[in-house]
Amino acid sequence: MVVSALVLLLSPEPERRARVLVDLAADPRLTLGTLVRDRLPVVAEAASAGDGAALCDELATCDGVVRVDVVAIDFEEHA
């Protein structure tokens, strides 16, 4: 299991932002933190580091997500 700490920069448009928040909350791989202005802290879980990277790519393409920054990754079980 790979656990990543992410920060998502969300769209400034309220409707798109609200929509993507609903979608993200429904994704079982993600745990959402408290929105700080336009930044959403997220913890992502994936089976492997590769899946984790793919998940980040997937998040970056979501409508309403402007950018994904990865701030930490734990890969102890893969090291």
Binding site: V3, A5, V36, R39, A49, G50, A53, C56, A79
Partner: protein, 796 residues
């Protein structure tokens, strides 16, 4: 009771929340390091590019188990790119080199370290003049310093040069010829302050993503930053830019001259700035860094040729776009940062285009204020710290000194306590010449017969491999030594292979693109018998000392790398078992930093870097005993050495505190497409991989994300060639050929007539095709343009 998974998630959420707060509110809150039992955390700069991001490295049971962006680091403010957050896995490829290997009867066989060190000593003693070291901008500062001292102070032939010759040598000669001293005046803070970011032939969205995100982040906060992309192919960066101006390869010279032309024609140049701080210069034949003085009127006459129409003819950039650029530079209220990397440096006119871009900034007065700066980036983590500052080049000495200067040699001999005549005044061979001579039989002038490669992979990164590398492997008497962590293409072609420690398996120091010197401690042991490169160099020096090489002693008879412990007792650091009895990095750095004051590149004591996330030189001691870094050189407001005027170029070539505005004409590149070879070939990197991929291709998720090199091609060209996406083509130049798949509408989009191939894939050696023609001053080859033909591979 919280389980481990819940704990990891909770700590990850704390980290993410702290980062979100900091990014959104510009809060200084710092995430607490994870406190899981058994995991210890420490700081280190990332191992990959020249940005110099700091990471926090989590270690448990002697292994790196986690990586986090370092929230205390000014450079990256807690963020990392895809390579950065996988950097810990670069240590754990399955095929690490763990024993010294010597080629016997064509096969690499294990030997002991003692035997390996003897083999190297034998090669030196057999022909000291023919022994060379080829290093890199991935050497740590102490490693590079030790290699430099072995060659310049010990063996005495000056035969040392780095792979950085291939990536940023033209930036060096540009800074030297313009300001009289190397490295950017500005720093990354300029990215936070500029109104306009002008990107010259650079793709920071992929190559320096954390820096680029600083600018994009400003936009997300509602700040106005105009991004302009001057490029020969559309890249990921183009997608973020307000304007993308496509230009013909080599057309950048004409564009820079065209901007200057319009500034003069419109009278929008900054006369007051130029009158106070600048002189004009033109080149001589043969070219030199000093050039020849010219008057302003001569300068104006030379630029008269570069009308917008002429610039369009030479570069493809329209008069409207050129006029827009001149509008921006003519507006004194704006703050303009120019950013460049390999596009301007890997150029047979690299020094010239660097000079011209500096010149546009100087002519328009866009210099010396935060956000107003011409700034080059580097591609390796210590191209600046080790190569440019320690001076591990064929003509260099530490601290910006050079072997050709009598006074500089005298100063170096004094610091090293050497006889005055020990350091040779004759420069060694630059990279292309070193390898050309290594690949030439001795009786035909090939006077380099042994090269010791450390921390780089020339069998894939040199240009024109069929000329510069491959022949050496067949010529009797040529001997290649490689110190590396993995069985790279170079290692597998070597006669002697030495297993090296990597990154946090050893102490280290790097210097990034913004003059920031960084430090880290060893955190995990290297595998098997792998050892520090620095130790390898010192062990060879000691073996030479013990076998009577006169250069291995100073003038008092002490060993060149004489080290004592805090009680003054000598420590035999050439004995691996004793190497970490003292901090060898600290010892070497304290000696090295004595050099740093000659060119006002002052470094602080080692211990200051232990506490900091790097410090930007000059770092000057304050009356209260603290050490202050410098963000903006030559500006009185920040640089303690600029005391006479608001802007003072205190290392001026003309000795009058003025920078030089050069005129250089546009010239045709050495090779252009023709009927036989109708395409331009440009080479470069991709986001996921670093250099020749020897580390990143061993990180499974990066390898999966970008598994193979490819040929980017315009769809119209593909249609004409009858090539579909994914089909294999043959790329052939006058020097070599290779096969690889085509990618249409991929990561980048070249214009018709251009193909692009990344060089990260060891199995697809694009440098079989590239050109070794180089800039006459920087000696840096041009990897960005040569002529090739492309055809669909015949189907069986």
């Amino acid at each position: 009771m919280i389980d481990r998974r819940a704990f990891l998630k909770a700590t990850a959420m704390a980290t993410a929340t702290a980062a979100a707060a900091r990014l959104a509110l510009h809060d200084v809150a710092e995430a607490e390091p994870r406190t899981e039992a058994g995991v210890t955390w420490d700081k280190a700069p990332c191992r990959f590019c020249g940005t110099g991001c700091h990471v926090q490295v989590g270690v448990k049971g002697g292994r790196v188990v986690a990586i986090a962006g370092d929230q205390k680091a000014e450079v990256n403010k807690g963020l990392l790119c895809v390579k950065g957050y996988h950097v810990g896995l670069a240590l754990y490829g399955t095929d690490r080199l763990t024993r010294p290997l010597l080629r016997k009867n064509g096969k690499l066989e294990p030997i002991t370290w003692a035997q390996a060190i003897d083999v190297i000593a034998d090669r030196v003693l057999a022909n000291p003049a023919g022994f060379a070291i080829y290093g890199s901008g991935q050497w740590t500062i102490p490693e590079g310093y030790a290699a430099q001292k072995l060659i310049k102070a010990g063996i005495g032939n000056n035969q040392i040069d780095p792979n950085a010759r291939l990536c940023m040598a033209s930036a060096v000669t540009g800074f030297l010829s313009t300001y009289g001293v190397d490295e950017p005046a500005g720093c990354y803070d300029d990215l936070d302050r500029c109104d306009v970011l002008l990107i010259w032939g650079n793709n920071p969205a992929e190559m320096h993503p954390v820096l680029f995100s600083r600018v994009i982040d400003r936009r997300s906060r509602g700040q106005q930053v105009v991004l302009i992309d001057l490029t020969t192919r559309r890249t990921r960066t183009s997608g973020f830019c307000d304007r993308t101006m496509m230009f013909k390869p080599h057309g950048d010279l004409a564009i820079a001259n065209g901007i200057a032309h319009l500034l003069l024609e419109r009278g929008s140049w900054d006369k007051a700035f130029v009158d106070k701080y600048c002189n004009f210069r033109k080149r001589t034949e043969p070219p030199t860094l000093d050039g020849q003085a010219m008057t302003f009127e001569e300068y104006r006459r030379e630029l008269a040729y570069y009308t917008p129409a002429k610039v369009e003819e030479l570069s493809g950039v329209s008069p409207a776009d050129l006029g827009y650029l001149a509008d921006l530079f003519g507006d004194r209220k704006l703050r303009i940062t120019s950013l460049w990397c390999m596009g301007m440096n890997q150029h047979t006119r690299g020094t010239a285009i660097n000079d011209l871009v500096h010149g546009v900034h100087l002519l328009s007065g866009h210099f010396g204020k935060p956000g107003d700066a011409p700034t080059s980036l580097t591609g390796q983590p210590s191209a600046c710290g080790t190569v440019r500052e320690v001076g591990t080049v064929a003509n260099g000495l530490p601290g910006g000194l050079v072997v050709t200067n009598d006074l500089h040699r005298k100063e170096a001999a004094a610091i090293w306590n050497l006889p005055a005549d020990r350091i040779s005044a004759k420069p060694g061979y630059h990279t292309v010449e070193m390898w050309r001579r290594f690949s030439t039989p001795k009786d035909q002038g090939g006077d380099i017969d042994t090269i010791w490669v450390q921390v780089t992979n020339p069998a894939r990164s040199l240009p024109n491999l069929n000329t510069l590398f491959a022949p050496s492997r067949k010529i009797p008497g040529k001997f290649l030594i490689v110190s590396d962590v993995y069985p790279t293409a170079t290692a597998m072609a070597a006669d002697l292979v030495l297993p090296s420690a990597m990154w946090v398996e050893k102490n280290g120091m790097f210097g990034n693109s913004e003059r920031r010197t960084q430090q880290w401690f060893k955190m995990v042991p290297p595998p098997g018998e792998a050892r520090d490169d620095c130790w390898q160099t010192i062990a060879v020096a000691r073996r030479l000392h013990d076998r009577g090489h006169p250069g291995m002693k100073d003038k008092d008879g002490k060993f060149l790398f004489h080290v004592v412990d805090p009680k003054g007792v000598p420590v035999p650091i050439w004995d691996w078992a004793r190497y970490y009895d003292v901090n060898v990095d600290e010892h070497l750095f304290e000696e090295y930093r004595k050099f740093s004051r000659f060119k006002h590149k002052d470094l602080a004591p080692y211990r200051e870097y232990v506490a900091a996330r790097g410090l930007r030189w000059p770092v000057v001691k304050q009356p209260d005993g603290t050490w202050r870094e410098t963000r903006f050189r030559f500006a009185k407001a920040d640089d303690p050495y600029a005391t006479k005027a608001e802007i003072q170029f205190y290392h001026s070539v003309t000795k009058d505190d003025r920078a030089l505005i050069w005129f250089h004409p546009w010239e045709a590149p050495p090779e252009t497409p023709d009927q036989e070879f109708p395409f331009w070939l440009c080479t470069g990197r991709v986001l996921e991989h670093w250099h020749t991929g020897t580390m990143t291709m061993r990180i499974p998720q990066l390898a999966r994300a970008m598994p193979q090199a490819y040929c980017e091609m315009n769809r119209d060209d593909a249609r004409k060639l009858g090539v579909a996406d994914g089909e294999v083509v043959v790329i052939e130049s006058r020097r070599g050929k290779l096969e690889l798949p085509v990618w249409l509408e991929g990561r980048g989009q070249p214009p018709p007539g251009t193909v692009f191939v990344p060089f990260f894939d060891e199995s697809i050696a694009i440098n079989l095709a590239t050109l070794d023609a180089h800039d006459p001053l920087s000696k840096q080859p041009d990897y960005k343009k040569c002529a090739v033909r492309v055809r669909r591979q015949s189907r069986p």
